[in-house]
């Protein structure tokens, strides 16, 4: 359901979306969450990738294994534990207790069986197109779990960490989001990916608009209005305080593609889906912190808290993500 229950205002839901793998979605999500927590925001992370990378990033391997083993038991508490009653038992979603990973950072653990939900979502979409209430119930099940979890932890922001594909699960997530961010790496494939990404989003939004206009009264509906917040350039190399020249070229061509393949395509549907001038969409540049990344992932912490690299590099990373988080806060407030 799109309406938040009780008096709590609906938390702002954001997905980092790019079906091109390896652009650093999970790493970016974790660092952004920790940076926003430092800025006194409460964050709910939702691991919505069947690969469970986010959960494995933040939680020790043996604990994750135990959670996955227990997910269909009464005490189960992964994302699948919440969804299964709707998908398999034609029941209501189960309320989950988000795992408190750090001050103001909460996690809904992922589950490999999320791929089963994805299969059901494909049929559910057809049911929605056919105006069957069951389709709407399944399509909005994940959103409903997030509703109750954000309320229980008092979250200001929800971040969905999604898998690198254009599938029914990511479609349902995007349609539930208030905003989405496109992370892109400095390479040819990242730029190529924008075209299919923009087209897919455009088709999803158009279909959903019709589906929701013709939905039977009382059917739970996803919000269906994900505003493009902007893009973030990742993993580029610096050379003497400037972008390395080859990456500079990519950065330029990425900017052009973001405009033509995403912003323009969205505005054709509705101007308010991509507000602002081109400079507003440049959310930041996160340089290649490879030396910190390995340790940070192993230790389950942000780059700034990893026991690797020099203190200078860690400060630089911390600062970069705080800047990024502030930019996001500012843009969200403006919109």
């Amino acid at each position: 359901m799109t309406r938040a229950k009780g008096s709590h205002e609906r938390a702002i839901r954001i997905a980092l979306l790019n079906h091109k793998g390896g652009v650093g979605k999970t790493t970016l999500t974790v660092n952004l969450a920790f940076a926003l927590a430092q800025l006194d925001k409460t964050i709910l992370l939702v691991d919505s990738d069947p690969q469970c990378n986010l959960t494995s990033y933040l939680v020790q391997g043996d604990v994750v294994d135990k959670w996955l083993d227990e997910s269909e038991d009464p005490q189960g508490n992964t994302i699948w534990s919440g969804l299964r009653p709707v998908v398999h038992l034609n029941n209501e979603v189960k309320t989950l207790i988000p795992f408190e990973r750090a001050d103001r950072v909460f996690l809904i653990p992922g589950d490999i069986r999320l791929s089963e939900y994805e299969l059901d979502l494909q049929q559910a979409w057809l049911d929605c197109l056919q105006r069957r209430v069951k389709g709407f119930k399944i399509t909005s099940a994940l959103s409903e779990i997030v509703d109750s979890s954000t309320e229980s932890v008092g979250a200001d922001f929800v971040f969905y960490d999604i898998g690198p594909n254009i599938g029914p699960l990511n479609r349902a997530i995007l349609l539930d989001c208030d905003f989405f961010i496109v992370p892109a790496a400095c390479d040819y494939f990242s730029i190529r990916a924008l075209k299919t990404l923009g087209q897919s989003i455009s088709n999803w939004l158009k279909d959903w608009r019709i589906i929701s206009q013709l939905a039977p009264s009382g059917a739970p509906l996803l919000r269906g209005h994900p505003v493009f917040l902007g893009y973030v350039l990742q993993r580029f190399r610096m050379y003497g305080g400037e972008l390395a020249s080859q990456h500079k070229e990519y950065a330029k061509s990425l900017e052009r593609s973001v405009f033509s393949e995403i912003i323009a395509v969205l505005r054709e549907i509705d101007e308010s889906l991509a507000p602002g001038s081109i400079s507003h969409f440049k959310l930041g540049q996160i340089k290649d912190f490879t030396s910190l990344a390995t340790a940070a992932q192993k230790e389950g912490v942000s780059f700034g808290d990893a026991t690797a690299g020099t203190p200078y590099l860690r400060d630089e990373a911390r600062e970069a993500f705080i800047d990024f988080a502030q930019k996001i806060l500012q843009r969200v407030t403006e919109i």
Binding site: L129, Q130, R131, I210, I211, Q213, L214, S217
Partner: protein, 250 residues
């Protein structure tokens, strides 16, 4: 004279804006058409009683013509032309149309019940109907026993119709017609000769009126055959399944 030629520039601009709005929303209205069509085709209940189902979305050219005629008719009358982009999809009920065809009159009863169930399952709001248009006394009496309201049909057009509302924002409606195959034959001939403009040929008009009587008799004869058959099977072959009464032909 073609109705469009008789319109002023402002009137034409108004009609163009309505047509533009209609075209922009074609995917929405066509989705509504598919939803209704699939719901009827998928409902097992209908299968033994329904011969075939047709559906259509009004063609923009026909709509334009219809709007022009309405505009001309409304001139000088108290009820002015009131269609706007905000009410087009519910004030004109036949932009999306579904037609359910069956063999004989008695099948109306289960089809009517099936439609009522379908409207409630899919939460379609029934805003009109069932209303039976008929010009034949015997048929009128039959509909009355089913509790279906009847209205006269000077044009000899015969069918049972319903209007449902599928959505609130925007408000979209669709029309469902139920008629026998014989009535469909008359309807199709009449439509192609007299629509959108009534034929000026007296011979054609006369023959179409006579055809209405022939097809009505045909419907009545089919009805009689099935009554006889059912009577025969229930009297002489009590174990025969009543399900065999009508073969599924779609």
């Amino acid at each position: 004279m073609q109705p469009l030629a008789a319109l002023s520039r402002d009137e034409l601009a108004h009609i163009d804006s309505l047509i533009e709005h209609f075209s922009q929303n074609t995917p929405l209205l066509d989705r509504l058409r598919k939803q209704l069509l699939n719901a009827v085709l998928d409902a097992d209940f209908f299968a033994p009683h329904v011969h075939s189902v047709r559906s259509r979305l009004k063609a923009p050219d026909h709509l334009k013509d219809k709007l022009a005629r309405k505009m001309i008719e409304s001139r000088g009358k108290e009820t002015q032309f009131s269609l706007t982009v905000d009410n087009l999809f519910h004030k004109l009920n036949d932009l999306v149309g579904l037609r359910i065809l069956h063999l004989h009159a008695q099948q109306i009863e289960p089809i009517n019940q099936g439609l009522m169930d379908l409207f409630s399952e899919f939460k379609y709001k029934r805003v009109e109907g069932p209303i039976a248009r008929t010009w034949d006394d015997e048929t009128r009496d039959y509909f009355k026993t089913l509790g279906v309201r009847t209205i006269k049909s000077p044009s000899l057009y015969t069918s049972v119709h319903y209007v449902i509302q599928a959505s609130d924002k925007p408000r979209c409606t669709a029309e469902i017609q139920v008629r026998t195959l014989a009535e469909e034959l008359w309807g199709e001939v009449d439509h192609s000769i007299n629509y959108p403009h009534k034929s000026e040929s007296l011979a054609c008009r006369e023959q179409i009126k006579a055809l209405a009587r022939a097809t009505s008799s045909c419907s009545r004869l089919v009805d009689s055959i099935y009554r006889s058959y059912n009577d025969y099977t229930s009297t002489y072959k009590p174990r025969a399944s009543s399900r065999k009464v009508v073969k599924k032909t779609r």
